[in-house]
């Protein structure tokens, strides 16, 4: 897991969800722990796309449930 990706994912998450940085740990679920509803998740995924210059297809959004999932997914996507 890339430390740089984690740092950026945490930054985007803090900004998009208005949560405290210390809450955004790898195991935190966006919906269960960080208060995101279904619209917030779509917005968050779009922010990840913008931040990392990648496309996240709708049918793959389900893989991203936690902060750690997002980092793993983005690293995989970037190295592909």
């Amino acid at each position: 897991m890339s430390a740089d990706t984690l740092e950026k994912v945490r930054k985007v998450t803090v900004e998009e969800l208005g949560v405290k940085e210390e809450e955004v740990v790898e195991s935190a679920s966006f919906t269960e722990d960080l208060g995101a509803d279904s619209l917030d998740v779509v917005e968050l995924v779009m922010a990840f796309e913008d931040e990392f210059g990648i496309d996240i297809p709708d049918d793959e959004v389900g893989e991203i449930k936690t902060v750690g999932d997002a980092v793993t997914y983005i690293d995989k996507k970037k190295s592909a």
């Binding site: 998009e16 917030d40 779509v42």
Partner: protein, 417 residues
């Protein structure tokens, strides 16, 4: 349902909140309005240099984070944020306690003439640049004009009638009038009602510039909004919100509420003339005044103050003057009429609500706000416009006029209780 109280048929205002170009909160706004301050300056919300009109009355002291959680405050359209703030102030001012019984009898009717145009413009740009997958899921909820009501109902847990009215620049007045009817006929005990608008963005400014409705006195912002003055050349766009707690009279009395005033008359008509220009005969505006007087059971002599629509356009100010003269007869020359748009610009869908608030405060304090920048009389506008300086006068009943693109004419009559 049998234990629902019988409606008194009277509707009073027991709480007020406002976000205006002269300040957020009535305590900030009202003294500055009475002092005749202008809120009009060069636009800062966007770079106006390419627009024919480069000035506006912006709300400068508003901080969305003071009223919304951080996540929402960052992204929500300004027209919703203004309404959330004005509604919160009105609820606090009313000191009303909303239990689970009252919750279902407490509705919301906060209109907007335009809705979330800033957010719409940003998302349109994203779609053009990045394709449909770049459009935010919040585009639709933040753009639709009913979301001020929707959002306020959610934040305050109000589950009565939830709706909004969209009648351009008469929206705020229609919202108060329609909410008054809802309570009067017994479909709710309380309503949060008013208007909100945040039109100072690229599309809003571009659209109104193209419509040639705004002043181009860019080099002299503070004197640009000059209703009824001979040298007026168009309106100054503004932004803001005002929201009232409207309440059944008996309910308000039973809980010992502070009462600002009572809504006693509501007239609304259509011009059926032109999409943006008012009927030059001002027949619709005249009939709205007549309907308001009839529904209030009052005669022109009972009206002690008129807060005019007074946009500072050639046609509005001339036509509105004609309408008042025709409806009031000789009394037209005895009643003070002022346009507070001279100070806070034209807040479009919020204007009717902000100006109804001004009527309430004027009656409470026996102080009538002026029409500033009144320098050169126009023979076609020959009423007492309270030129330039506020006036002390005890007033028991006042009227507020509002007119909107589409030919909407609204007159509200408010009474001190």
């Amino acid at each position: 349902m049998s234990d629902r109280p019988v409606p008194s048929g009277r509707v009073v205002i027991t709480g007020v909140g406002a976000v205006t170009p002269l300040g957020t909160g009535v305590a900030k706004f009202w003294p500055r309005l009475l002092a005749g301050e202008s809120a009009v300056e060069r636009i800062t919300l966007l770079d106006p240099s390419e627009y024919t009109t480069q000035i506006a009355a912006e709300v400068k002291d508003f901080v969305a984070e003071d009223w919304l959680d951080k996540k929402e405050a960052r992204r929500i359209d300004r027209f919703i944020a203004f309404a959330v703030a004005a509604a919160a102030m009105a609820m606090q001012d009313s000191e009303i306690k909303v239990d689970d019984d009252l919750r279902n009898e407490f509705g919301v009717m906060i209109g907007s003439g335009i809705g979330g145009l800033t957010y719409l413009g940003e998302q349109h740009r994203r779609q053009i640049e990045g394709g449909p997958s770049k459009v935010s899921p919040f585009l639709v909820p933040y753009m639709i004009p009913d979301m001020a009501s929707g959002y306020v109902s959610i934040l305050n847990g109000l589950k009565g009638p939830n709706t909004c009215v969209v009648t351009a620049c008469s929206t705020g007045a229609n919202a108060i009038g329609d909410a008054y009817h809802i309570i009067k006929r017994g479909d709710a005990i309380c309503m949060l009602a008013g208007g909100t608008e945040a039109p100072i963005n690229e599309l809003g400014l571009g659209g109104f510039c193209a419509a040639r409705a705004m002043t181009t006195r860019n080099d002299d912002p503070a004197h640009a909004s000059r209703p009824f003055d001979k040298d007026r050349d168009g309106f100054v766009i503004g932004e803001g919100s005002a929201v009232f707690v409207l309440e059944d009279y008996d309910h308000a009395i039973a809980r010992g509420a502070k009462i600002y005033g009572e809504v006693i008359g509501y007239g609304m008509t259509g011009d059926a003339y032109h999409i943006t220009q008012p009927d030059p005969n001002a027949d619709g505006a005249y009939r709205a005044v007549k309907m308001a007087l009839r529904t209030a059971g009052k005669s022109p002599e009972d009206i002690g103050y008129v807060n005019a629509h007074g946009t500072s356009t050639y046609y509005n100010d001339k036509g509105e003057t004609m309408a008042i003269k025709r409806a009031f007869g000789d009394h037209a020359y005895n009643v003070p009429v002022s346009s507070t748009k001279s100070m806070i610009g034209h807040t479009l869908g919020a204007a009717g609500a902000i100006e109804a608030l001004i009527c309430l405060l004027a009656m409470r304090d026996s102080k009538l706000p002026p029409t500033i920048n009144y320098e050169t009389p126009d023979p076609e506008c020959d009423l007492d416009y309270i030129p330039n300086v506020a006036r002390d006068k005890e007033v028991n009943i006042s009227m507020s006029n509002s007119y909107g693109f589409g030919g909407h004419n609204v007159s509200l009559i408010l009474k001190k209780v």
